[in-house]
């Protein structure tokens, strides 16, 4: 149904018609403006700056930039790191999903919470925590005498270190996707295989794995996108290790040369976007050829591990201890001593860093407050926008709905740093009515947040719409209610749990994020996410660790809070709930 209406413009009638067709038409126009300004226009500007910087297409310039030794090296590193990390994440995530969904492993619910937790911790904090894990302050490796002697090269400052951390960081993404596939697996298919005499191993290999192939590859696609665009880990490990990737190259050159490097960096951002889209499409295509069975039938019975139950559970818990406790405890250990390298003992323990971070350090406090109100504002704008957008995407047909969907998904699939470059380009020039540019102000960060997190907010809300009977809306329409009255009176009450879940997801992602805002922060406007990198670069490791600890505590508090109200939220939206 197209919403824009061609009507003869006779004054008295035109007025009546505006009232009649007004509400839906206004809504659609606002949505087109919203998505167009925040997603399509900046990306179009990026495309233009990358390919036509002086108004003309210059193949020699493009070949010159992309053929540079550093760029070639960064491109190769990016691809290698993303592919290897995706492979690692896929293997670990799939194993974890099989273990928790199909077996009677002990304490599954708690394990799932712990396995998914790293996904919610900002990557720069993860990287910092792992770096600290080998420091003398580590309460685990330190007492064991396994910490690095001073002067040796840190093992994580390497290609292998980046791949290892990215792989572990993205394993929960694959886990969630595979688990969703497993939950749709019809129980009868597994029971039929058992009836034919297949044992647990044969069932997993011959029946389960082929049937969840789609879920595995969908998870791998997510892991690829997330790995290639993960600024936090690539920067925290790659910059000290002098392993350039496309993301860190863009960041370093823009920092070094400022806006004069923008056009060239736009080209690199475009290259990164291209690699992302190719990788994602390829992985999704590989998964699509599998047999995808969607069935709401009963869930398969759990296979008994028998005498393997204890060892398997032990290995699983050991993994969690290694991936969660080791880095997090080291992070707290570093945050609790006066200087980097001081071992943590009863004499050296101090809360000075926390006090500094919370009360003394002006920059940290203002960055935290900026992040907090920016995030709240983002949630306040995005949730109503996503509810309205979901209405058009779910219940209206036609090219407008299709275009809106592609545009809103695009900004989310691309690495945040690309949105950052696009936003700088878009807002660098003075705005038509205000007369000054927004570049360097906090409003550019807000625009980037709105653009990047729209799809994140949209996903649970679209799921909510799928649960609502459309006739409820149509009945209200027949009762004479315009689209805004229907959204308020009919849709929102039914959608409230999904909207709540979307708000939690957006809040938790935006309050700690780094990749979107790292290029946009300025002396006037800094967010808390990049603060860790700035502190670490400035040599304040202990203060950085304290800020990291506070972020982890904030994430844990929010997750706990969401579990408390979780009973009312729809199932399967919050990833850390089993």
């Amino acid at each position: 149904m197209t919403l824009v209406q061609d009507q003869p413009a006779r004054p008295p009638r035109a007025r009546r018609l505006l009232r009649r067709f007004g509400s839906e038409r206004v809504l659609t126009l606002v949505l087109i403006l919203f998505v167009g300004l925040l997603s399509i226009a900046p990306l179009a500007r990026l495309l233009h700056a990358a390919l036509f910087p002086q108004g003309a297409f210059d193949a020699a310039r493009i070949a010159d930039i992309l053929g540079g030794r550093r760029v070639l090296e960064a491109t190769f590193n990016t691809l290698w790191i993303a592919c290897a990390a995706t492979l690692l994440a896929t293997v670990v995530g799939t194993l974890a999903a099989l273990l928790t969904s199909l077996t009677d492993m002990r304490r599954r619910t708690l394990w799932v919470f712990g396995f998914v937790l790293p996904l919610m911790i900002p990557p720069q904090v993860t990287a910092l925590a792992w770096v600290q894990a080998f420091s003398p302050a580590s309460p685990i490796l330190g007492p064991l005498g396994l910490s690095l002697p001073p002067g040796t090269r840190h093992p994580l400052y390497s290609m292998g270190g980046i791949i290892f951390l990215l792989g572990l960081y993205n394993a929960p993404l694959v886990f969630l996707s595979v688990r969703a596939s497993l939950q749709r697996l019809p129980a009868s298919l597994i029971e039929a295989a058992h009836a034919n005499g297949a044992n647990a191993g044969a069932v997993t290999r011959d029946i389960v794995l082929p049937l969840i192939r789609g879920g595995i590859f969908a998870g791998a696609a997510l892991a690829f996108v997330s790995s290639i665009g993960n600024f936090g880990i690539q920067a925290m490990l790659g910059i000290p290790a002098r392993i350039p990737t496309l993301i860190t190259l863009i960041y370093q050159r823009l920092n070094a040369y400022g806006p004069s490097a923008l056009n060239d960096m736009a080209l690199l951002a475009l290259l990164l976007a291209l690699l992302t889209v190719i990788g994602m499409t390829l992985t999704a295509w590989l998964g699509r050829r599998g047999d995808q069975r969607v069935d709401a039938a009963q869930r398969p019975p759990r296979m008994a591990l028998g005498r393997w139950r204890l060892p398997v559970s032990g290995v699983a818990w050991l993994y969690l201890a290694l991936c969660l406790l080791l880095p997090i405890s080291a992070l707290f250990g570093t945050a609790l001593v006066r200087g980097y390298g001081v071992p943590l003992t009863l004499e050296t323990i101090t809360f000075e860093n926390f006090a500094n971070a919370l009360f003394q350090h002006e920059g940290i406090r203002s960055a935290f407050l900026t992040s907090l109100w920016l995030t709240l504002l983002t949630v306040a704008i995005l949730i109503p926008a996503a509810v309205a957008l979901g209405y058009v995407l779910s219940w209206r047909r036609g090219w407008i709905a299709r275009l809106l969907r592609i545009a809103s998904e695009l900004a989310y699939a691309l690495p945040g740093i690309i949105i950052g470059v696009a936003m700088i380009l878009f807002f660098l020039r003075p705005l038509p009515f205000i007369g000054t540019g927004l570049y360097g102000t906090v409003w550019v960060i807000l625009a980037a947040y709105l653009s990047n997190f729209l799809a994140l907010a949209l996903r649970p809300i679209l799921g909510g719409y799928a649960q609502i009977d459309r006739a409820l809306d149509e009945a209200a329409q027949l009762a004479g209610a315009g689209v805004f009255a229907r959204l308020r009176d009919i849709v929102l009450p039914a959608l409230a749990p999904s909207a709540m879940a979307a708000a939690i997801l957006v809040f938790m992602t935006a309050v700690n994020e780094i990749q979107v805002s790292v290029l946009l922060v300025s002396s006037r406007a800094t967010t808390i996410g990049p603060m860790i990198i700035f502190l670490e670069e400035a040599g304040s490791s202990t203060l950085a660790a304290a800020v990291g600890c506070l972020m982890v505590l904030l994430v844990l508090a929010l997750m706990g809070l969401s579990l408390l109200v979780g009973r009312r939220l729809p199932e399967g939206v919050l990833p850390w709930r089993d």
Partner: protein, 361 residues
């Protein structure tokens, strides 16, 4: 004024054409049913009337006002039409009274007047004591009455019903059919009832439109559909109708015609303008066949006999070659066995007009 004029409407989704040149003329206060198999386009027709779908061609007028035409589309919220949805679409977060009052609230009717109108309507459908219940706490029949009360409160002059009985069990259906008839008598609204169940359509409606593959095949009174089908499809669809080849059709001038069916002379009803034809199709029902001893009867071979309570249903092979399957109802008490030879007489039948009403595509 609530007459409905549907003239030559077309509707397609992408490549599939769902409605082809549909025309219906419905008088104010009439109860009409649209009858057809699933996928015939009847729900699309209802959604076009309600304003949820735009037309590709043609025009819909309600009470003299054009509500749908290419380049003109009155939004559903301004049509003043009531719809009873298949699942009733009661808003789950509102009480019964709030459900009924919502349209009045949107229309800006003051609270006191709203409350009195709502309680009056709820009393009419005998839901007064349940006004503060949630829809989830109501039975299927009560939900339907809430849906009807919603239309009553809005004083909708046109009420569309989208297979409202399809999801209910057989026992409830009879009672609820009566509710619709009572609602129609009380409100005087024009009713447009969509169904795939012919017993519902024939029992409720003043006139029934039979639909197939996006076309209206015949729009007529129920008894006319049954006894004077205008096409083979309608004849075969209504009341277990059977269509056979007839030869040597000669109109007798008094609304009847003589013809030869399965090699036997029969007397049939026919349309006033019927002309003599060498061949044609005739329609009849199992009840038109009777056991007989007359010499001019149709010889048959019983292939299967089933006990149906009041009568015995026999499947027989008839005709000179014994290759024409027929069904016949024989009043109980009777005994037939497989392989038995019997003779049947065709006491009534209808000559299907040669040029079935043409539908330009």
């Amino acid at each position: 004024m609530s007459d409905i004029r549907i003239s030559g409407i077309d509707k397609s989704y992408g490549q599939t054409q769902v409605l082809r040149q549909v025309s219906l003329s419905i008088e104010a206060g009439e109860f009409i049913a649209v009858l057809g198999p699933s996928g015939c386009g009847k729900t699309t027709l209802l959604r076009c009337l309600a304003g949820f779908e735009r037309l590709n061609g043609g025009r819909i007028e309600i009470g003299g006002e054009t509500v749908s035409a290419p380049g003109r589309h009155l939004a559903p919220e301004h049509r003043g039409i009531g719809v009873v949805f298949q699942n009733y679409a009661l808003w789950p977060h509102m009480s019964v009274a709030q459900n009924v009052a919502y349209g009045l609230k949107i229309a800006g009717i003051p609270r006191s007047e709203r409350n009195s109108r709502v309680s009056k309507v709820l009393d009419l459908v005998e839901l007064g004591p349940l006004a503060h219940r949630r829809p989830a706490d109501l039975s299927g029949g009560q939900r339907q009455r809430v849906a009807l009360a919603r239309c009553l409160a809005m004083e909708s002059r046109v009420v569309l019903l989208d297979e409202p009985l399809a999801n209910l069990d057989v026992h409830l259906r009879g009672t609820l059919e009566e509710e619709f008839a009572a609602f129609h008598a009380r409100s005087g609204a024009t009713m447009f009832y969509i169904t795939h169940d012919q017993s519902e359509a024939l029992a409720l409606a003043d006139r029934v439109a039979v639909m197939d593959k996006g076309r209206i095949l015949q729009f007529d009174r129920p008894e006319a559909l049954f006894s004077q089908p205008q096409s083979e499809t309608v004849a075969g669809f209504i009341g277990e109708g059977r269509v056979l080849e007839a030869e040597d059709i000669r109109p007798l001038g008094d609304g009847h015609a003589a013809a030869s069916v399965l090699g036997r002379p029969v007397r049939l009803r026919c349309a006033p303008g019927e002309t003599a034809r060498r061949r044609g199709k005739i329609a009849f029902h199992p009840g038109d066949l009777h056991l007989t001893n007359a010499a001019e009867a149709i010889p048959c071979n019983v292939t299967r006999a089933t006990y149906r309570g009041a009568y015995l249903r026999a499947e027989v092979m008839a005709g000179p070659a014994g290759d024409i399957p027929l069904s016949v109802n024989i009043a109980a008490p009777a005994a037939l066995s497989r392989g038995q030879r019997i003779s049947l007489a065709l006491r009534d039948g209808w000559v299907i007009p040669d040029a079935a009403p043409s539908h330009p595509s």
